[in-house]
C-alpha cells in the first residue's frame, strides 16, 4: 500500500462523513450513547470499589495491653506493631479515653457505666488499621506473639460479613458492567452494520470498477475510527462534565450528612478516557471492516 493511498483513504473518509451528514450524525449519536451507558456504569463500578475499599479500611484490630506498662514499653510495642507486614497505622488509646468513647457509644444506656470512673475495668490499647482487611488474622497472630499483650481482638464475624458484602458489590457491579460492555459493543456494531448497509450500492460499484477489498475497506476503516473518536470524545466530555458537577454538588449539599462520598473526579476521568477510547475507536474501525465483508463479495 502506498503512502498516498493512506492519505487518499483519510481524505475520502472525512469527505464521506461530511456528505452523509444524516447518517454520520445518527451513527455518532448511537456510538456516543452506547459509550455513555458504559461510562455511567464504569463510574458506578469505580465508586462501588472506592466505597468498598473505604469500608474495608475501617476494619481495625484492637490490641489490649497489660496493665501498668511504662511509656517506653508502650512506644516499643507501637514500633513493633507498625513493623508488621500489612499494618497501615497503629494509634494508642488510653483506658480513660476508651471509657469515654464507650460511654458515648452507649448513649441513653450510659447510666449502666455509672460509678466505673474511679475503677476503670478497661485497658490501654492500640487501634491497628490494616492495608488489606484480609490480613487481619495474620496480623492478629503476629501481635499476639508479642510480649506485654493481654488480648488481641478483631471482629472476625463482622470482617467476614463485610468482606462478603464488598465482594458481592464488586462482583455484582463488574458483572453488570461486563454485560453493559457487551450490549454497548452490540449496539455500536449494529449501528455500523446499518451504516454500511445504507451504502451497499456504493461498495458494490467500487468492486465492479476493480477496487480490491482492502481499497474499498480503507475509507470505511478510517471512517469507523473517526466516527468512533467523535462519539467517544463527546461521551467523555458529557460524562466528565456531568460527574464533575454531580460530585461537587453532593460534596456541597450533603457534606456531613453522609458517610458516602464520591470518588474524586481526577481519579475517575483517566479510567473513563482509556475505556471509552478503546471501545469507541477499536469497535468503530474493526466493526466497519467486518460489517463490510458481506457486500464485498461481488
Amino acid at each position: 500500500m502506498k503512502a498516498r493511498t493512506v492519505k487518499y483513504f483519510f481524505k475520502q473518509s472525512t469527505r464521506s462523513i461530511w456528505r452523509n451528514k444524516v447518517m454520520s450524525l445518527a451513527s455518532i449519536g448511537s456510538v456516543m450513547a452506547a459509550l455513555l451507558v458504559i461510562g455511567i456504569f464504569l463510574i458506578l463500578v469505580l465508586n462501588v470499589d472506592y466505597l468498598a475499599t473505604k469500608l474495608e479500611s475501617q476494619v481495625e484490630i484492637k490490641v489490649h495491653l497489660m496493665d501498668g506498662l511504662s511509656e517506653n514499653i508502650i512506644n516499643d510495642i507501637n514500633k513493633d506493631i507498625k513493623e508488621i507486614a500489612g499494618v497501615k497505622d497503629s494509634v494508642f488509646l488510653s483506658k480513660d479515653e476508651a471509657l469515654k468513647k464507650f460511654n458515648e457509644e452507649l448513649g441513653e444506656n450510659s447510666y449502666l457505666l455509672e460509678g466505673l470512673e474511679g475503677d476503670n475495668p478497661l485497658s490501654d490499647s492500640f487501634i491497628v488499621t490494616l492495608e488489606d482487611p484480609r490480613l487481619a488474622p495474620k496480623a492478629t497472630l503476629a501481635i499476639s506473639a508479642m510480649s506485654n499483650i493481654e488480648k488481641v481482638v478483631y471482629g472476625k464475624e463482622e470482617l467476614e460479613k463485610l468482606l462478603n458484602i464488598t465482594y458481592i458489590l464488586r462482583v455484582g457491579s463488574l458483572v453488570i458492567v461486563g454485560i453493559l460492555f457487551l450490549i454497548s459493543i452490540f449496539i455500536i456494531s449494529n449501528t455500523i452494520k446499518l451504516t454500511v448497509f445504507a451504502r451497499r450500492r456504493e461498495i458494490g460499484i467500487m468492486k465492479y470498477i476493480g477496487a480490491t477489498d482492502w481499497f474499498v475497506r480503507g475509507p470505511f476503516f478510517f471512517e469507523g475510527i473517526l466516527l468512533g473518536l467523535i462519539g467517544c470524545i463527546a461521551s467523555i466530555i458529557i460524562l466528565g462534565a456531568g460527574y464533575y458537577f454531580i460530585a461537587n454538588y453532593i460534596k456541597q449539599q450533603m457534606f456531613g450528612l453522609l458517610v458516602i462520598s464520591l470518588m474524586p473526579f481526577s481519579e475517575v476521568i483517566y479510567s473513563l478516557i482509556v475505556a471509552l477510547l478503546v471501545i469507541g475507536i477499536i469497535i468503530g474501525s474493526l466493526g466497519s471492516m467486518i460489517s463490510i465483508r458481506k457486500f464485498l463479495k461481488v
Binding site: 502506498k2 487518499y8 452523509n20 468492486k207 465492479y208 470498477i209 477496487a211 480490491t212 477489498d213
Partner: protein, 227 residues
C-alpha cells in the same frame, strides 16, 4: 486471442436459460457489436466476462487467463484491465462527476499528478468539462451515461466494453461518442459494444455478433443490425 468463450452456458437460479453453448473469439484490436432483442443475454455475457456472474459451464479466457477458474483476489485486476460502460451507469451518488472518474484511477493507485492531468482530458472528450463538479443526480440521463464512458476510458484499458452506451443520447452526441470509440479502437483498444442502435451498427460496418434465443444467431465480419 484476447477474448475467447468456449461452450459457455448460463442458466439462472429461477431456471431461465440466458446463454447456451456460446463460442466467441475476439482478437486484439477488434471492434465488435453485440446485438439482439431485449432480454437476449447481451448483458449477461458481459457480466460473465467481468466475473460478475459465474458461468455454469464452459471456459472464458481473457488475455489467456481463465476467468472461470480465477481466484477471488485476482478479480479486481481482471476488472481493471477492462473499461466498462455499464447499462445502468453505476455512478457513485456521493461523488461528483470529477471524483467518479478520478476514482477509477485512484483504484489503480495512479499518482495524483496523473489523475489531475488525465481526468479533465476524458471529461472534455465526452463533452462534460463544465459539469465536473456536479453530482450524478444533477445530470441528465445522457450526461450520466457519458460520465460512465469517461470512467471506462480514463485508465486506457486494453479492452473497452460498452453496454448500450448511446441509449440516452441524441443522434449527434451518439456519433460524437462513436467517433471517440473508433479513435480509441484505432489506437489499439479492443471494443465490445452491446447496442440496439440499428443506424450506428449499419453505418459502422464492423463485426456484428447477434444473440437470439440464448445462442449466437449470426457473427458477421462486416455486418449490419438486422438481416
Amino acid at each position: 486471442m484476447l477474448i475467447e468463450l468456449v461452450n459457455v452456458s448460463k442458466t439462472f437460479s429461477d431456471g431461465h436459460r440466458a446463454l447456451s453453448n456460446i463460442n466467441i473469439k475476439i482478437d486484439n484490436g477488434e471492434f465488435v457489436f453485440l446485438v439482439g432483442p431485449s432480454g437476449a443475454g447481451k448483458s449477461t455475457l458481459i457480466k460473465l466476462l467481468l466475473k460478475e456472474l459465474e458461468a455454469d459451464q464452459g471456459t472464458i479466457l481473457i488475455n489467456d487467463k481463465d476467468v472461470t477458474r480465477m481466484k477471488r483476489k485476482d478479480i479486481p485486476f481482471l476488472r481493471r484491465s477492462i473499461g466498462v460502460v455499464f447499462q445502468d451507469f453505476r455512478l457513485l451518488h456521493e461523488k461528483t462527476v470529477y471524483e467518479n472518474v478520478a476514482f477509477a484511477m485512484e483504484v489503480v493507485e495512479a499518482p495524483a499528478k496523473d489523475i489531475r492531468r488525465q481526468v479533465p482530458i476524458v471529461l472534455s472528450l465526452v463533452g462534460l468539462s463544465k459539469k465536473s463538479n456536479l453530482y450524478p443526480s444533477q445530470l441528465s440521463g445522457g450526461e450520466q451515461q457519458r460520465v460512465s464512458l469517461a470512467r471506462a476510458m480514463v485508465n486506457g484499458p486494453s479492452i473497452l466494453i460498452a453496454d448500450e452506451p448511446t441509449g440516452n443520447l441524441d443522434p449527434d452526441t451518439s456519433w460524437e461518442i462513436m467517433r471517440n470509440l473508433s479513435e480509441i479502437n484505432h489506437r489499439g483498444t479492443t471494443i465490445l459494444m452491446a447496442t440496439h442502435a440499428k443506424e450506428i451498427v449499419d453505418a459502422m460496418k464492423k463485426r456484428v455478433i447477434a444473440i437470439e434465443e440464448c445462442t449466437i444467431a449470426r457473427d458477421d465480419k462486416k455486418g449490419g443490425y438486422g438481416i
